[in-house]
Symmetry: C2
Subunit: 290 residues, 2 copies
Amino acid sequence: MMNSFFLSLLVGLLFSKDYVKPTEIDGKKKWKGEGTTPNLESIVIGRCYEYIRIVNPSVGEKNCTKIWEAFKKAFMNKDPCNILPSDYELFINLSLHTIPPNKSLFWENNHLLVTSYSDRTRRYMPLCDTLIGSFGDFLNWCGQANDTGFNYDSCPTIEECENNAVETFWKIASITYAKQSSGVIYVMLNGSAIGGAYPVKGDSCGRGSVQILEERLKTMGYDITCIDNYKSVLLLKCLDYLNHPDCSIVSSAPSTQKGLVSPDRNGSWSRLIYTIFVVFVFEMCFNTQN
Amino acid sequence: MMNSFFLSLLVGLLFSKDYVKPTEIDGKKKWKGEGTTPNLESIVIGRCYEYIRIVNPSVGEKNCTKIWEAFKKAFMNKDPCNILPSDYELFINLSLHTIPPNKSLFWENNHLLVTSYSDRTRRYMPLCDTLIGSFGDFLNWCGQANDTGFNYDSCPTIEECENNAVETFWKIASITYAKQSSGVIYVMLNGSAIGGAYPVKGDSCGRGSVQILEERLKTMGYDITCIDNYKSVLLLKCLDYLNHPDCSIVSSAPSTQKGLVSPDRNGSWSRLIYTIFVVFVFEMCFNTQN
Protein backbone atom coordinates (compact mmCIF):
# COMPACT_ATOMS: atom_id res chain seq x y z
CA MET A 1 0.00 0.00 0.00
CA MET A 2 2.46 2.62 1.23
CA ASN A 3 4.69 3.92 -1.55
CA SER A 4 3.01 1.69 -4.08
CA PHE A 5 1.40 4.65 -5.76
CA PHE A 6 4.79 5.85 -6.94
CA LEU A 7 5.53 2.48 -8.46
CA SER A 8 2.09 2.36 -10.03
CA LEU A 9 2.87 5.68 -11.68
CA LEU A 10 5.94 4.15 -13.24
CA VAL A 11 4.71 0.68 -14.05
CA GLY A 12 1.07 1.41 -14.66
CA LEU A 13 -1.56 -0.42 -12.67
CA LEU A 14 -0.67 -4.08 -12.95
CA PHE A 15 -3.94 -5.32 -11.57
CA SER A 16 -7.38 -3.89 -12.05
CA LYS A 17 -9.49 -3.32 -8.96
CA ASP A 18 -13.12 -4.16 -8.27
CA TYR A 19 -14.67 -2.08 -5.51
CA VAL A 20 -17.04 -3.65 -3.01
CA LYS A 21 -20.10 -1.82 -1.70
CA PRO A 22 -20.09 -1.07 2.04
CA THR A 23 -22.53 -2.79 4.35
CA GLU A 24 -25.22 -0.39 5.54
CA ILE A 25 -27.10 -1.13 8.78
CA ASP A 26 -29.83 1.30 9.89
CA GLY A 27 -28.41 3.98 7.63
CA LYS A 28 -25.03 3.82 9.42
CA LYS A 29 -22.12 2.40 7.47
CA LYS A 30 -20.17 -0.45 8.97
CA TRP A 31 -16.83 -0.73 7.22
CA LYS A 32 -14.72 -3.82 6.82
CA GLY A 33 -11.42 -2.28 7.90
CA GLU A 34 -10.06 -1.69 11.38
CA GLY A 35 -11.15 1.54 13.08
CA THR A 36 -8.93 4.47 14.06
CA THR A 37 -5.90 3.45 16.16
CA PRO A 38 -6.71 4.37 19.81
CA ASN A 39 -4.71 7.35 21.14
CA LEU A 40 -3.84 8.38 17.59
CA GLU A 41 -3.34 12.03 18.61
CA SER A 42 -0.80 11.22 21.36
CA ILE A 43 1.07 8.75 19.16
CA VAL A 44 1.29 11.08 16.20
CA ILE A 45 2.24 14.26 18.09
CA GLY A 46 4.79 12.22 20.06
CA ARG A 47 6.32 10.82 16.87
CA CYS A 48 6.42 14.28 15.34
CA TYR A 49 8.44 15.74 18.24
CA GLU A 50 10.57 12.59 18.42
CA TYR A 51 11.35 13.09 14.74
CA ILE A 52 12.37 16.74 14.95
CA ARG A 53 14.18 16.45 18.33
CA ILE A 54 15.88 13.05 18.11
CA VAL A 55 15.60 11.19 14.78
CA ASN A 56 16.27 14.04 12.36
CA PRO A 57 16.85 17.43 14.02
CA SER A 58 18.13 18.79 10.69
CA VAL A 59 14.50 19.41 9.63
CA GLY A 60 14.43 22.37 12.03
CA GLU A 61 11.62 23.68 14.21
CA LYS A 62 8.06 22.54 13.45
CA ASN A 63 4.80 23.08 15.35
CA CYS A 64 3.58 19.52 15.77
CA THR A 65 0.22 20.48 17.26
CA LYS A 66 -0.48 22.68 14.25
CA ILE A 67 0.55 19.87 11.88
CA TRP A 68 -1.78 17.50 13.73
CA GLU A 69 -4.70 19.97 13.36
CA ALA A 70 -4.03 20.18 9.62
CA PHE A 71 -3.85 16.38 9.41
CA LYS A 72 -7.21 15.99 11.19
CA LYS A 73 -8.87 18.66 9.05
CA ALA A 74 -8.17 16.58 5.93
CA PHE A 75 -10.73 13.90 6.79
CA MET A 76 -12.79 15.04 9.80
CA ASN A 77 -16.48 15.72 9.29
CA LYS A 78 -16.32 14.35 5.74
CA ASP A 79 -17.56 11.36 3.79
CA PRO A 80 -14.80 8.82 4.55
CA CYS A 81 -14.89 7.62 0.93
CA ASN A 82 -14.34 11.01 -0.59
CA ILE A 83 -11.04 12.27 0.77
CA LEU A 84 -8.96 13.92 -1.92
CA PRO A 85 -5.20 14.55 -2.07
CA SER A 86 -5.89 18.29 -1.92
CA ASP A 87 -7.51 17.80 1.51
CA TYR A 88 -4.04 16.99 2.89
CA GLU A 89 -2.43 20.01 1.21
CA LEU A 90 -2.00 22.15 4.36
CA PHE A 91 -0.73 19.13 6.31
CA ILE A 92 1.85 18.39 3.60
CA ASN A 93 2.99 22.01 3.41
CA LEU A 94 3.49 22.23 7.17
CA SER A 95 5.40 18.96 7.52
CA LEU A 96 7.53 19.06 4.37
CA HIS A 97 11.31 18.79 4.64
CA THR A 98 14.10 17.91 2.23
CA ILE A 99 15.13 14.31 1.54
CA PRO A 100 18.93 14.17 1.24
CA PRO A 101 20.12 13.12 -2.24
CA ASN A 102 20.87 9.37 -2.64
CA LYS A 103 18.78 8.48 0.43
CA SER A 104 15.41 7.74 -1.19
CA LEU A 105 14.22 4.17 -0.93
CA PHE A 106 10.97 3.06 -2.55
CA TRP A 107 9.58 -0.34 -1.71
CA GLU A 108 6.62 -2.70 -1.76
CA ASN A 109 5.66 -5.64 0.49
CA ASN A 110 8.71 -5.28 2.69
CA HIS A 111 7.58 -2.95 5.47
CA LEU A 112 9.40 -4.49 8.47
CA LEU A 113 12.53 -5.34 6.49
CA VAL A 114 12.69 -1.80 5.09
CA THR A 115 12.20 -0.30 8.55
CA SER A 116 15.11 -2.35 9.94
CA TYR A 117 17.28 -1.72 6.91
CA SER A 118 16.79 2.06 6.79
CA ASP A 119 17.58 2.22 10.56
CA ARG A 120 15.69 5.44 11.31
CA THR A 121 17.20 7.51 8.46
CA ARG A 122 20.78 6.39 9.22
CA ARG A 123 21.14 4.12 6.18
CA TYR A 124 18.29 5.32 3.93
CA MET A 125 15.28 7.61 4.27
CA PRO A 126 12.21 5.77 2.97
CA LEU A 127 8.87 7.57 3.20
CA CYS A 128 8.13 6.02 6.61
CA ASP A 129 11.31 7.69 7.93
CA THR A 130 10.17 11.18 6.92
CA LEU A 131 8.08 13.50 9.09
CA ILE A 132 5.10 13.08 6.75
CA GLY A 133 5.40 9.29 6.83
CA SER A 134 5.67 9.22 10.62
CA PHE A 135 2.07 10.50 10.79
CA GLY A 136 0.78 7.32 9.19
CA ASP A 137 3.27 4.50 9.69
CA PHE A 138 1.50 1.41 11.14
CA LEU A 139 -1.55 3.56 11.98
CA ASN A 140 -5.15 3.67 10.85
CA TRP A 141 -7.68 6.49 10.87
CA CYS A 142 -10.95 7.80 9.47
CA GLY A 143 -13.72 10.23 10.30
CA GLN A 144 -17.37 10.34 9.29
CA ALA A 145 -19.74 12.78 7.63
CA ASN A 146 -21.50 15.22 9.98
CA ASP A 147 -19.39 14.22 12.94
CA THR A 148 -16.18 15.84 14.19
CA GLY A 149 -14.94 12.68 15.92
CA PHE A 150 -12.89 9.74 14.73
CA ASN A 151 -14.50 6.46 13.81
CA TYR A 152 -12.90 3.99 16.21
CA ASP A 153 -15.22 1.16 15.17
CA SER A 154 -14.36 0.66 11.53
CA CYS A 155 -12.80 2.37 8.52
CA PRO A 156 -13.24 1.67 4.80
CA THR A 157 -10.77 -0.71 3.17
CA ILE A 158 -9.41 -0.06 -0.32
CA GLU A 159 -11.85 -2.70 -1.60
CA GLU A 160 -14.71 -0.57 -0.25
CA CYS A 161 -13.43 2.72 -1.64
CA GLU A 162 -10.12 3.97 -2.94
CA ASN A 163 -10.54 7.57 -1.78
CA ASN A 164 -10.47 6.72 1.92
CA ALA A 165 -8.44 8.82 4.38
CA VAL A 166 -5.53 6.37 4.64
CA GLU A 167 -5.18 5.54 0.93
CA THR A 168 -5.36 9.19 -0.06
CA PHE A 169 -2.80 10.05 2.60
CA TRP A 170 -0.27 7.55 1.22
CA LYS A 171 -1.06 8.65 -2.32
CA ILE A 172 -0.24 12.32 -1.69
CA ALA A 173 2.60 11.40 0.70
CA SER A 174 4.18 9.18 -2.00
CA ILE A 175 3.82 11.85 -4.68
CA THR A 176 5.38 14.44 -2.39
CA TYR A 177 8.17 12.03 -1.47
CA ALA A 178 8.89 11.27 -5.14
CA LYS A 179 9.01 14.99 -5.94
CA GLN A 180 11.50 15.58 -3.11
CA SER A 181 13.74 12.67 -4.15
CA SER A 182 16.98 13.22 -6.03
CA GLY A 183 20.27 11.56 -6.89
CA VAL A 184 20.57 7.78 -6.76
CA ILE A 185 17.16 6.20 -6.20
CA TYR A 186 16.72 2.78 -4.62
CA VAL A 187 13.73 0.51 -5.00
CA MET A 188 13.41 -2.60 -2.86
CA LEU A 189 10.92 -5.22 -3.96
CA ASN A 190 9.91 -8.53 -2.45
CA GLY A 191 10.14 -11.53 -4.76
CA SER A 192 9.15 -13.94 -1.97
CA ALA A 193 5.66 -15.02 -1.20
CA ILE A 194 4.13 -13.22 1.79
CA GLY A 195 3.96 -15.75 4.60
CA GLY A 196 6.98 -17.44 3.10
CA ALA A 197 6.22 -20.98 4.29
CA TYR A 198 6.53 -22.42 0.77
CA PRO A 199 8.60 -21.28 -2.17
CA VAL A 200 6.22 -19.49 -4.48
CA LYS A 201 7.75 -18.27 -7.73
CA GLY A 202 8.08 -14.52 -7.47
CA ASP A 203 9.47 -11.98 -9.86
CA SER A 204 13.16 -11.34 -10.17
CA CYS A 205 15.32 -8.89 -12.14
CA GLY A 206 14.43 -9.07 -15.86
CA ARG A 207 11.21 -11.01 -15.28
CA GLY A 208 7.52 -10.30 -14.83
CA SER A 209 6.53 -7.02 -13.22
CA VAL A 210 10.15 -6.20 -12.37
CA GLN A 211 10.98 -6.38 -16.07
CA ILE A 212 8.09 -3.98 -16.79
CA LEU A 213 9.49 -1.58 -14.17
CA GLU A 214 13.00 -1.86 -15.60
CA GLU A 215 11.82 -1.24 -19.15
CA ARG A 216 9.64 1.68 -18.15
CA LEU A 217 12.60 3.27 -16.36
CA LYS A 218 14.91 2.64 -19.31
CA THR A 219 12.37 4.23 -21.67
CA MET A 220 12.38 7.25 -19.37
CA GLY A 221 16.13 7.44 -19.94
CA TYR A 222 17.37 6.14 -16.62
CA ASP A 223 20.52 4.07 -16.31
CA ILE A 224 19.34 1.31 -13.99
CA THR A 225 20.96 -1.54 -12.08
CA CYS A 226 18.83 -4.42 -10.81
CA ILE A 227 20.26 -6.79 -8.18
CA ASP A 228 18.62 -9.99 -7.01
CA ASN A 229 19.21 -10.63 -3.30
CA TYR A 230 21.47 -7.66 -2.69
CA LYS A 231 24.02 -8.94 -0.19
CA SER A 232 23.62 -6.23 2.40
CA VAL A 233 19.86 -6.88 2.67
CA LEU A 234 20.38 -10.64 2.68
CA LEU A 235 22.80 -10.28 5.63
CA LEU A 236 20.09 -8.53 7.61
CA LYS A 237 17.80 -11.49 7.02
CA CYS A 238 20.62 -13.96 7.82
CA LEU A 239 21.09 -12.54 11.34
CA ASP A 240 18.18 -14.73 12.39
CA TYR A 241 18.85 -17.69 10.10
CA LEU A 242 22.60 -18.29 10.29
CA ASN A 243 22.30 -21.93 9.19
CA HIS A 244 19.87 -21.37 6.33
CA PRO A 245 21.31 -22.55 2.96
CA ASP A 246 20.80 -19.04 1.52
CA CYS A 247 23.16 -17.82 4.25
CA SER A 248 25.97 -20.20 3.32
CA ILE A 249 28.05 -17.15 2.35
CA VAL A 250 28.40 -16.53 6.08
CA SER A 251 28.88 -20.13 7.17
CA SER A 252 32.69 -20.13 7.42
CA ALA A 253 32.84 -18.92 11.03
CA PRO A 254 33.38 -21.40 13.91
CA SER A 255 30.54 -23.87 14.24
CA THR A 256 30.20 -23.15 17.96
CA GLN A 257 28.59 -19.88 17.01
CA LYS A 258 25.95 -21.46 14.82
CA GLY A 259 22.46 -21.27 16.18
CA LEU A 260 23.55 -20.77 19.76
CA VAL A 261 21.86 -17.51 20.46
CA SER A 262 19.29 -17.20 17.69
CA PRO A 263 18.08 -20.75 17.18
CA ASP A 264 17.86 -21.42 13.49
CA ARG A 265 14.39 -21.68 12.06
CA ASN A 266 15.28 -23.68 8.97
CA GLY A 267 12.10 -25.67 9.01
CA SER A 268 9.80 -22.73 8.54
CA TRP A 269 11.51 -21.28 5.47
CA SER A 270 12.22 -22.99 2.21
CA ARG A 271 13.68 -19.84 0.76
CA LEU A 272 14.83 -17.23 3.22
CA ILE A 273 13.74 -14.21 1.23
CA TYR A 274 13.97 -13.02 -2.31
CA THR A 275 14.55 -9.31 -2.59
CA ILE A 276 15.03 -7.23 -5.69
CA PHE A 277 17.04 -4.05 -5.45
CA VAL A 278 16.65 -1.60 -8.32
CA VAL A 279 19.00 1.36 -8.44
CA PHE A 280 18.87 4.34 -10.80
CA VAL A 281 19.97 7.95 -10.85
CA PHE A 282 17.19 10.48 -10.79
CA GLU A 283 18.53 13.86 -11.78
CA MET A 284 15.48 16.08 -11.86
CA CYS A 285 12.41 16.49 -9.78
CA PHE A 286 9.35 15.53 -11.79
CA ASN A 287 5.82 16.82 -11.70
CA THR A 288 3.09 14.28 -11.19
CA GLN A 289 0.75 16.21 -8.95
CA ASN A 290 -1.32 17.79 -11.68
CA MET B 1 25.02 4.74 31.63
CA MET B 2 21.81 2.85 30.88
CA ASN B 3 21.85 -0.73 32.15
CA SER B 4 25.34 -0.28 33.49
CA PHE B 5 24.09 -0.37 37.06
CA PHE B 6 23.13 -4.01 36.64
CA LEU B 7 26.62 -4.86 35.46
CA SER B 8 28.11 -2.83 38.30
CA LEU B 9 26.09 -4.94 40.70
CA LEU B 10 27.71 -8.04 39.27
CA VAL B 11 31.22 -6.86 38.61
CA GLY B 12 31.58 -4.23 41.31
CA LEU B 13 32.51 -0.71 40.36
CA LEU B 14 35.51 -1.02 38.11
CA PHE B 15 36.39 2.63 38.27
CA SER B 16 36.10 5.00 41.19
CA LYS B 17 34.31 8.29 40.61
CA ASP B 18 35.23 11.82 41.69
CA TYR B 19 32.28 14.18 41.87
CA VAL B 20 32.62 17.75 40.66
CA LYS B 21 30.96 20.68 42.42
CA PRO B 22 28.33 22.54 40.38
CA THR B 23 28.92 26.09 39.25
CA GLU B 24 26.79 28.54 41.21
CA ILE B 25 25.94 31.92 39.70
CA ASP B 26 23.81 34.36 41.73
CA GLY B 27 22.62 31.49 43.91
CA LYS B 28 21.21 29.70 40.84
CA LYS B 29 22.91 26.49 39.80
CA LYS B 30 24.12 26.19 36.25
CA TRP B 31 24.72 22.54 35.50
CA LYS B 32 27.12 21.13 32.97
CA GLY B 33 24.70 18.68 31.32
CA GLU B 34 22.10 19.35 28.66
CA GLY B 35 18.72 20.59 29.87
CA THR B 36 15.40 18.76 29.62
CA THR B 37 14.58 17.57 26.07
CA PRO B 38 12.01 20.03 24.63
CA ASN B 39 8.49 18.57 24.28
CA LEU B 40 9.41 15.77 26.68
CA GLU B 41 5.76 15.26 27.70
CA SER B 42 4.51 14.77 24.12
CA ILE B 43 7.42 12.49 23.23
CA VAL B 44 7.04 10.30 26.29
CA ILE B 45 3.24 9.97 26.25
CA GLY B 46 3.42 9.27 22.52
CA ARG B 47 6.02 6.55 23.01
CA CYS B 48 3.97 5.03 25.81
CA TYR B 49 0.87 4.66 23.62
CA GLU B 50 3.00 3.56 20.66
CA TYR B 51 4.44 0.85 22.91
CA ILE B 52 1.13 -0.52 24.19
CA ARG B 53 -0.76 -0.16 20.86
CA ILE B 54 1.88 -1.09 18.28
CA VAL B 55 5.24 -2.31 19.59
CA ASN B 56 4.08 -4.67 22.33
CA PRO B 57 0.28 -4.85 22.76
CA SER B 58 0.73 -7.93 24.98
CA VAL B 59 1.41 -5.59 27.95
CA GLY B 60 -2.30 -4.79 28.00
CA GLU B 61 -4.07 -1.53 28.79
CA LYS B 62 -2.12 1.22 30.58
CA ASN B 63 -3.01 4.83 31.38
CA CYS B 64 -0.09 6.68 29.84
CA THR B 65 -1.11 10.09 31.19
CA LYS B 66 -1.20 8.68 34.72
CA ILE B 67 2.22 7.05 34.21
CA TRP B 68 3.59 10.39 32.98
CA GLU B 69 2.24 12.15 36.09
CA ALA B 70 3.97 9.57 38.29
CA PHE B 71 7.19 9.97 36.29
CA LYS B 72 7.11 13.77 36.73
CA LYS B 73 6.36 13.55 40.44
CA ALA B 74 9.63 11.65 41.00
CA PHE B 75 11.81 14.71 40.37
CA MET B 76 9.61 17.81 40.10
CA ASN B 77 9.96 20.49 42.78
CA LYS B 78 12.97 18.69 44.28
CA ASP B 79 16.71 19.22 44.63
CA PRO B 80 17.91 17.78 41.27
CA CYS B 81 20.87 16.13 43.05
CA ASN B 82 18.79 14.27 45.57
CA ILE B 83 16.45 12.03 43.58
CA LEU B 84 16.18 8.57 45.13
CA PRO B 85 15.09 5.27 43.53
CA SER B 86 12.04 5.27 45.82
CA ASP B 87 10.88 8.53 44.18
CA TYR B 88 10.21 6.55 40.99
CA GLU B 89 8.34 3.77 42.83
CA LEU B 90 4.81 4.73 41.70
CA PHE B 91 6.04 5.25 38.12
CA ILE B 92 7.66 1.80 38.11
CA ASN B 93 4.58 0.12 39.56
CA LEU B 94 2.30 1.68 36.96
CA SER B 95 4.49 0.87 33.96
CA LEU B 96 5.72 -2.59 34.93
CA HIS B 97 5.16 -5.53 32.58
CA THR B 98 6.72 -8.95 32.18
CA ILE B 99 9.88 -9.56 30.17
CA PRO B 100 9.50 -12.83 28.23
CA PRO B 101 12.02 -15.51 29.31
CA ASN B 102 15.20 -15.68 27.16
CA LYS B 103 14.65 -12.17 25.79
CA SER B 104 16.71 -10.11 28.27
CA LEU B 105 19.72 -8.35 26.82
CA PHE B 106 22.05 -6.34 29.04
CA TRP B 107 24.67 -4.15 27.44
CA GLU B 108 27.14 -1.33 27.79
CA ASN B 109 28.52 1.20 25.27
CA ASN B 110 26.52 -0.20 22.37
CA HIS B 111 23.31 1.82 22.41
CA LEU B 112 22.67 2.19 18.66
CA LEU B 113 23.89 -1.30 17.81
CA VAL B 114 21.68 -2.82 20.53
CA THR B 115 18.68 -0.81 19.34
CA SER B 116 19.12 -2.11 15.78
CA TYR B 117 19.85 -5.63 16.94
CA SER B 118 16.88 -5.97 19.28
CA ASP B 119 14.58 -4.65 16.48
CA ARG B 120 11.84 -3.23 18.74
CA THR B 121 11.41 -6.39 20.89
CA ARG B 122 11.32 -8.73 17.89
CA ARG B 123 14.76 -10.27 18.46
CA TYR B 124 15.47 -9.32 22.09
CA MET B 125 13.90 -7.06 24.71
CA PRO B 126 16.65 -4.89 26.21
CA LEU B 127 15.62 -2.31 28.82
CA CYS B 128 15.18 0.40 26.15
CA ASP B 129 12.56 -1.83 24.48
CA THR B 130 10.41 -2.04 27.63
CA LEU B 131 7.69 0.45 28.57
CA ILE B 132 9.82 1.73 31.47
CA GLY B 133 12.84 2.18 29.24
CA SER B 134 10.82 4.00 26.58
CA PHE B 135 10.29 6.85 29.07
CA GLY B 136 14.00 7.59 29.12
CA ASP B 137 15.63 6.32 25.94
CA PHE B 138 17.70 9.10 24.29
CA LEU B 139 16.00 11.70 26.53
CA ASN B 140 17.14 14.06 29.24
CA TRP B 141 15.23 15.67 32.10
CA CYS B 142 15.46 17.39 35.47
CA GLY B 143 13.47 19.69 37.71
CA GLN B 144 14.55 22.16 40.38
CA ALA B 145 13.85 22.81 44.05
CA ASN B 146 10.86 25.09 44.76
CA ASP B 147 9.75 25.09 41.15
CA THR B 148 7.19 22.82 39.50
CA GLY B 149 8.67 23.28 35.99
CA PHE B 150 11.37 21.46 34.11
CA ASN B 151 14.84 22.88 33.81
CA TYR B 152 15.32 23.29 30.07
CA ASP B 153 18.61 25.16 30.47
CA SER B 154 20.82 22.57 32.12
CA CYS B 155 20.77 19.36 34.16
CA PRO B 156 23.42 17.86 36.44
CA THR B 157 25.82 15.37 34.91
CA ILE B 158 26.93 12.26 36.80
CA GLU B 159 30.20 14.06 37.53
CA GLU B 160 28.23 16.78 39.33
CA CYS B 161 26.04 14.40 41.31
CA GLU B 162 25.13 10.74 41.06
CA ASN B 163 21.61 11.08 42.45
CA ASN B 164 20.31 13.14 39.57
CA ALA B 165 16.92 12.40 37.99
CA VAL B 166 18.30 10.57 34.95
CA GLU B 167 20.92 8.44 36.75
CA THR B 168 18.47 7.43 39.45
CA PHE B 169 15.89 6.58 36.79
CA TRP B 170 18.25 4.18 35.00
CA LYS B 171 19.39 2.73 38.32
CA ILE B 172 15.87 1.76 39.44
CA ALA B 173 14.86 0.86 35.87
CA SER B 174 17.87 -1.50 35.60
CA ILE B 175 17.18 -3.12 38.97
CA THR B 176 13.53 -3.63 38.03
CA TYR B 177 14.54 -5.02 34.64
CA ALA B 178 17.02 -7.44 36.24
CA LYS B 179 14.35 -8.62 38.69
CA GLN B 180 11.94 -9.28 35.82
CA SER B 181 14.51 -11.17 33.75
CA SER B 182 14.50 -14.96 33.52
CA GLY B 183 15.78 -17.83 31.42
CA VAL B 184 18.78 -17.36 29.15
CA ILE B 185 20.36 -13.96 29.78
CA TYR B 186 22.43 -12.15 27.16
CA VAL B 187 25.02 -9.48 27.80
CA MET B 188 26.48 -7.52 24.92
CA LEU B 189 29.68 -5.59 25.59
CA ASN B 190 31.77 -3.37 23.37
CA GLY B 191 35.44 -4.27 23.15
CA SER B 192 36.11 -1.50 20.61
CA ALA B 193 37.15 1.99 21.43
CA ILE B 194 34.32 4.50 21.23
CA GLY B 195 34.89 6.60 18.13
CA GLY B 196 36.65 3.63 16.62
CA ALA B 197 39.08 5.58 14.43
CA TYR B 198 42.08 3.73 15.82
CA PRO B 199 42.39 0.22 17.18
CA VAL B 200 42.57 0.61 20.93
CA LYS B 201 43.06 -2.63 22.81
CA GLY B 202 39.76 -3.44 24.44
CA ASP B 203 38.68 -6.32 26.60
CA SER B 204 37.70 -9.66 25.16
CA CYS B 205 36.37 -12.94 26.59
CA GLY B 206 38.65 -14.17 29.38
CA ARG B 207 40.48 -10.85 29.71
CA GLY B 208 40.29 -7.69 31.78
CA SER B 209 36.89 -6.58 33.02
CA VAL B 210 35.13 -9.27 30.96
CA GLN B 211 37.12 -11.89 32.84
CA ILE B 212 36.01 -10.32 36.14
CA LEU B 213 32.38 -10.51 34.96
CA GLU B 214 32.79 -14.13 33.84
CA GLU B 215 34.38 -15.17 37.14
CA ARG B 216 31.79 -13.35 39.21
CA LEU B 217 29.01 -15.12 37.31
CA LYS B 218 30.73 -18.50 37.65
CA THR B 219 31.10 -17.94 41.42
CA MET B 220 27.37 -17.25 41.51
CA GLY B 221 26.89 -20.70 39.97
CA TYR B 222 25.97 -19.73 36.43
CA ASP B 223 26.99 -21.76 33.42
CA ILE B 224 28.22 -19.07 31.07
CA THR B 225 29.29 -18.87 27.44
CA CYS B 226 31.35 -15.92 26.23
CA ILE B 227 31.66 -15.27 22.49
CA ASP B 228 33.98 -12.72 20.89
CA ASN B 229 32.42 -11.10 17.82
CA TYR B 230 29.25 -13.17 17.77
CA LYS B 231 28.54 -13.71 14.10
CA SER B 232 24.96 -12.48 14.08
CA VAL B 233 25.99 -9.12 15.58
CA LEU B 234 28.99 -8.85 13.27
CA LEU B 235 26.72 -9.35 10.25
CA LEU B 236 24.64 -6.37 11.35
CA LYS B 237 27.79 -4.24 11.39
CA CYS B 238 28.95 -5.71 8.03
CA LEU B 239 25.79 -4.48 6.24
CA ASP B 240 27.52 -1.12 5.93
CA TYR B 241 31.09 -2.35 5.52
CA LEU B 242 30.87 -5.24 3.03
CA ASN B 243 34.52 -4.90 2.00
CA HIS B 244 35.99 -4.51 5.47
CA PRO B 245 38.56 -7.26 6.28
CA ASP B 246 36.51 -8.26 9.36
CA CYS B 247 33.63 -8.98 6.93
CA SER B 248 35.67 -11.36 4.76
CA ILE B 249 33.32 -14.15 5.88
CA VAL B 250 30.74 -12.56 3.60
CA SER B 251 33.04 -11.70 0.70
CA SER B 252 32.27 -14.70 -1.52
CA ALA B 253 29.32 -13.10 -3.33
CA PRO B 254 29.75 -11.55 -6.79
CA SER B 255 32.07 -8.57 -6.77
CA THR B 256 29.53 -6.42 -8.61
CA GLN B 257 27.60 -6.26 -5.38
CA LYS B 258 30.50 -4.96 -3.36
CA GLY B 259 30.16 -1.40 -2.26
CA LEU B 260 27.64 -0.51 -4.95
CA VAL B 261 24.85 0.67 -2.76
CA SER B 262 26.53 1.28 0.60
CA PRO B 263 29.94 2.64 -0.33
CA ASP B 264 32.53 0.96 1.83
CA ARG B 265 34.07 3.12 4.50
CA ASN B 266 37.27 1.10 4.97
CA GLY B 267 39.40 4.13 5.55
CA SER B 268 37.63 5.24 8.69
CA TRP B 269 37.82 1.93 10.55
CA SER B 270 40.85 -0.09 11.39
CA ARG B 271 38.79 -2.64 13.22
CA LEU B 272 35.12 -2.78 12.40
CA ILE B 273 33.86 -3.51 15.89
CA TYR B 274 34.73 -5.81 18.70
CA THR B 275 31.71 -7.12 20.55
CA ILE B 276 31.57 -9.55 23.42
CA PHE B 277 28.47 -11.64 23.89
CA VAL B 278 28.04 -13.28 27.28
CA VAL B 279 25.27 -15.82 27.67
CA PHE B 280 24.08 -17.47 30.87
CA VAL B 281 20.93 -19.06 32.23
CA PHE B 282 19.28 -17.17 35.03
CA GLU B 283 16.76 -19.39 36.75
CA MET B 284 15.48 -17.31 39.63
CA CYS B 285 14.52 -13.71 40.13
CA PHE B 286 16.92 -12.08 42.58
CA ASN B 287 16.43 -9.35 45.11
CA THR B 288 18.75 -6.41 44.90
CA GLN B 289 16.42 -3.56 45.69
CA ASN B 290 16.92 -3.58 49.46
